[in-house]
Amino acid sequence: MNAVVIDAFAGAEVPQPDPNPAAEVKPMVRYKGVTKSFGDLQVLKGIDLEMQPGEKVAVIGPSGSGKTTMGRMLMTLEEPTEGTIEVDGELLWHMQEKGRLVRANEKHLHRMRCSVGMVFQHFNLFPHMSVLRNVTEAPRKVLGLSKEEAEERAVSMLGKVGLDDKLKMYPANLSGGQKQRVAIARALVMRPKVMVFDEVTSALDPELVGEVLEVIREIAEEGDMAMMLITHEMDFAKEIADRVIFGADGLIVEQGTPEEIFDNPRSERLQNFLQRFRSN
C-alpha cells in the first residue's frame, strides 16, 4: 500500500516546469473559424483566437470591425453563423447528440454561462432594484446562495469597487462611473472564469473614465480571471493587456504583446489606425 502512495506522490513530482507553459495549459477560450452574418452583412469573416486562463486580452480596432460581436458571442448573446467557440475545453454554442454536433439548447447554454461574465457599454443595471439587490439578485436566484451569503459577497465586492456606502441607492441616483462600477461588481460576484468588458468606458463622461479603469486595473492585477477588454482606450490596453488583438473588417489583422502592437505595428491598417488615434 505504502509503495503505491509513494509512487503516486513521486509521479506527481515528476513534471518539470515547462519552458512553454502556454502549450501545456488548456485554453480558457478558443474561437475556431467563427463567422457572423446579420442578413447580408458579414461582420466576422473567420476568427481564430485562443485565450489562456487568466490572460488579459485587449481587442482594439475601428468601429464596425466586429469587436463587440466577438464578445457578445462569448456571452451567448449572439450565435455564430459558422465555426465553434470553446470555453474551458467545452463547446459553447454546440453540443454532441448521437455523435453529431447540434445547436446547444438552453440547458447547455445555462451550464456554460457559469464560466462567463460580461460588463456592458451601457451598464444595463436593473433600475427597479437597489444597488445591493442588483448585485445579490443573481447569486441568490442563479447560484442559490442564502440572502446572508449573497449580501456578504455583494458587500465585499461593492467594497472592492468603492461603493459599499451606496447599498440602498437606486441606479438612477448614481453617476455613470458609479453605475459602471456596480455593473462590474454585479458581474464579478458570479465569479466567472472569463469576463468580457465591452467598451465599458465609451458611454462615460471623460472625467468618470478614470475611476472605472482604476477598478478594472485592480481586478486585472488579482490575476486568475481571463479578461477580454474590448476598448478604445489605447493607453489602458497597453498597460493592462498581456496580448493585444487588432481587428478590422471582421478579421484579426494583427496580434501580439502591447509593445509589438503599439510600438512596432507591422500592417499598414494598424499603422493608420494608431496614427489616427494619436492625432486625435
Binding site: V116, H122, V142, A172, A183
Partner: protein, 197 residues
C-alpha cells in the same frame, strides 16, 4: 362583484395572452392572436348575448353571473394583452442581455427583471381599462342582471317622474367609482416609481 371578478379575469388573461404573443412557438402566438382579434373585433354586448343566450343551444348553460364575468373578462383581457405585450417589448434590450449575462433562466429573466419594469409602464393604460371595464358592467343589465343600472331602471319604473334625477344619480355613481379607481391607480404608480426612475 361582476366588476371585481371580471377585472381579475381580465388582468389574468392580459398577462397570459400578452406573454403568449411573445412566445417562441408560432402555434401559441397564432392561437392567442385569434383570441385577441375575435374578442377585440366584436362587440362586448354581442359576446355577452352569445355566452348567455346562444350557448344554451349547444348545451352549455351558464349562470348570469358567470356569463357576465367571462364576457367582460375575456373582452378586456384581449385589449389588456396588447398593453402587456407592448410594455414588455418596451423594456430596453439591454435588460434582457444583462439577465442573460447573469445566467438567469428564461422565466427568471421575465419574472425578476422584465415584468417588474414592464408593470410600471402598464399601470396607466390598465387604469384606463379598469375604468372602462367598470362602466361596461352596466351592459349586464341586458341579460337581466341586477347591477347598478338595473336597480336604477327599477327605481325609475316606480318613480317615473323622477327619471332625470335617478339617471343623474346613476351617472354620478359611476363617476365616483371611476374616479376612486383612477386615484388608486395613480397612488400605486407613485409608490412603485418612488426613488427609482
Amino acid at each position: 362583484m361582476v366588476a371585481f371578478f371580471s377585472a381579475v379575469l381580465a388582468i389574468a388573461m392580459s398577462f397570459a395572452a400578452g406573454l403568449s404573443r411573445l412566445s417562441k412557438l408560432w402555434i401559441v402566438r397564432t392561437v392567442t392572436a385569434v383570441y385577441v382579434e375575435i374578442f377585440r373585433g366584436t362587440s362586448l354586448l354581442v359576446q355577452l348575448f352569445w355566452l348567455y343566450f346562444a350557448l344554451p343551444f349547444i348545451g352549455i348553460e351558464l349562470p348570469k353571473m358567470l356569463a357576465a364575468i367571462l364576457a367582460i373578462g375575456f373582452n378586456f383581457g384581449a385589449y389588456g394583452s396588447e398593453i402587456v405585450r407592448s410594455a414588455v417589448l418596451a423594456v430596453p434590450k439591454g435588460q434582457w442581455e444583462a439577465s442573460v449575462a447573469l445566467n438567469m433562466k428564461p422565466w427568471q429573466r421575465m419574472w425578476n427583471v422584465i415584468l417588474p419594469q414592464a408593470s410600471l409602464r402598464m399601470l396607466p393604460p390598465f387604469g384606463n381599462q379598469l375604468v372602462e371595464l367598470i362602466k361596461s358592467t352596466s351592459l349586464v343589465y341586458f341579460i337581466t342582471m341586477a347591477d347598478l343600472t338595473y336597480q336604477a331602471m327599477v327605481l325609475r319604473n316606480n318613480y317615473i317622474s323622477w327619471t332625470t334625477e335617478i339617471l343623474v344619480l346613476l351617472l354620478l355613481m359611476y363617476f365616483v367609482i371611476a374616479t376612486l379607481v383612477s386615484m388608486a391607480v395613480r397612488l400605486l404608480e407613485r409608490k412603485w416609481t418612488a426613488g427609482r426612475l
